[in-house]
Symmetry: C2
Subunit: 367 residues, 2 copies
């Protein structure tokens, strides 16, 4: 625990390794905890893990509480342990009692957080007053990547926005059967699996009407399915309605939309969300952030991607480069965009049966 006493600690390999365990747990909760952040926690004593937990859903126990329960259920005593937690423990009553109190009561010797909580920034004071050592910033960069959406939402009122499209070798997206029909079956499976990491998945009215998609993850938790339709002139797609008990269906519309159109969606079980102008990506995203969405996936088609690219609001692009040149299709970029943007590969490209999947982060300096 020596590094805890330093104001800007240089973390040792063991500290970082335990924190990555906690971050790994947090990653499993990404997309499941809105509006809360995904948090993981491990309790360690004498170089041995004695408890682990994560925050699984909003209203459920926080990661620290689950880790303490796990510790006791193993017959271990958390006293004198160090808690590694991906976000500073809460100090105030929310839906659950403050985690700092629970950690102090359990007698832990120290707490290491990857990031400070921008909302409740007094964990150090509370823990210190109780004689618990506290350090923050261990594996902070990894944590910032993981919690990027939540941090954007609480600091800027917008979610992290990931664009997803499949593109042919000649640069066209979609065909007549939606963007994903282009990708190989295994690449489509991968896309469906990844949807669970998002709080909401967004499509435009055109894609909704043409493709009648389902937009579920491969397994729960499913994201909220969001259709953007300024006038709500089309009825909700049947497959979205048929699966409404598995995942919510939201309609984001302009205030001017006719009530009779909106009532069709409401009658089908959809929540309707009014913004002044649903064609403005910033208004749509702010409305989703207001509903607690930190991680938003935009799945297309060409019209919505064109508009969102032009607005420069994508944080990530996940692209399937497919093994086809196309007869028909749409171009994303033609015209419109204000400035070119630079991106950086988040990882080496992966090949899924002839589909080259690459994930790109917007270069920070351009934000």
């Amino acid at each position: 625990m020596s590094s805890l006493s330093q104001p800007t600690p240089s973390w040792g390999a063991a500290d970082r390794a335990w924190m990555r365990r906690a971050l790994g747990l947090a990653l499993r909760s990404l997309g499941a905890t809105a509006p809360n952040p995904p948090v993981g926690c491990v309790l360690v004593r004498d170089g041995r893990l004695i408890g682990a937990g994560r925050h699984r859903f909003c209203g459920g126990p926080h990661a620290e509480i689950e880790a303490l329960e796990d510790c006791r259920s193993r017959g271990e005593d958390p006293r004198a342990a160090t808690a590694y937690v991906s976000l500073a423990p809460c100090t105030r009553h929310g839906r659950t009692p403050p985690c700092c109190d629970a950690l102090i009561a359990a007698g832990v010797a120290g707490v290491v957080a990857a990031l400070a909580d921008p909302i409740q920034d007094d964990a150090g004071a509370v823990l210190g007053a109780a004689g618990v050592a506290y350090g923050v910033g261990c594996e902070a960069e990894l944590a910032r990547q993981l919690l990027g959406g939540w941090l954007l939402r609480v600091s800027q009122g917008r979610p992290r926005v990931t664009a997803k499209w499949a593109m042919s070798l000649d640069g066209l997206i979609a065909g007549e059967h939606g963007p994903h029909a282009l990708s190989s079956a295994v690449a489509r499976m991968r896309s469906r699996r990844r949807r669970r990491r998002f709080d909401a998945i967004v499509i435009g009215a055109g894609t909704a009407a043409l493709d009648n998609p389902q937009l579920l993850a491969l397994s729960p938790p499913h994201p909220a399915r969001v259709v953007i339709s300024a006038g709500a002139v089309h009825a909700p797609p049947p497959r979205l309605v048929a699966t409404i008990n598995q995942a919510p269906l939201w309609l984001v519309h302009s205030q001017a939309a006719a009530d009779q159109n909106l009532n069709v969606w409401r009658a089908a079980g959809a929540m309707t969300i009014a913004v002044v102008d649903a064609h403005d990506p910033r208004q749509v995203l702010a409305a989703l952030a207001d509903r607690g969405c930190s991680e938003v996936l935009v799945e297309g088609g060409a019209q919505i991607h064109g508009a969102y690219l032009a607005a420069g609001i994508y944080d990530r692009i996940e692209m399937d480069l497919v093994s086809q040149t196309l007869a028909r299709g749409c171009s994303l970029g033609a015209g419109g965009m204000l400035v070119p943007q630079d991106w950086r590969l988040a990882a080496p490209p992966q090949v899924y049966n002839q589909t080259v999947v690459s994930l790109w982060d917007r270069r920070e300096e351009q934000r």
Copy 2:
């Protein structure tokens, strides 16, 4: 040599390994031997390489002759050796005497060829009559890939055509400074290095006028630089003219082009090649095949790629996926194309400083 006696030999690991050595030598000559095929040869006795050679340029010694010379210069005797050669040795007098005669005179015990020569198919008979064992088909698939352009030219009168473009994440090619300006410096370097494998490199009149490119390889041999311009209304680009002593400059034009325009090119040192309609990709490629080009690289821009894609005549696509979304640019595919085409990754994608380079072969079943 036991496998040589079988009519459809199943080649052993040693035979295949030696043939890959010969093919490796041939690969070094790809793009350097037009109108001849790139051929490599190794001489092996008692499991030991005693001579190696390749055909380096049209008019120079064939691979077998160079291998025999290499053998003797090492102080070795080619008698009773086996010659592995990537294409069946020639039997007739061309620019040089027949290689079969030289191999027989040298006393080799056997000859293994990867592929039969579709023009001179009597190597087996000639060698057999002299008591030299002969087998064909060892690593034939690799050889067919390597010699694909030459085989297409001698059998179908057209070259193998590779398209090269750089595309933004939103599917646009080119900007204001040509397709390659998008790629990272190391990816551009790689493209320049690969140009040496081609007999000709093709651009359209628009790219020539706008980009004023040089189109040289990183090192010799350089491909012929071919500008397609139906009317030849623009003068030849200065940088192509300035480098005309390093690599030929060809203009492919329609018969209707005005002589005064053509004379500007001729005065600059360019060869002018007339076809009925230079807008027809097949006529252009047939004219290049007539000039001995087996491997042709088309570097764009959008207009020529669009037309050539629509004609369905690309055999390979080499694409740089660059780490940008673009403000301005052209879409390749918009409209036009007759049928979608399927492609197959020739190798795993490579990343060159944020540029994802992928090489695609057209799926055979669609030919």
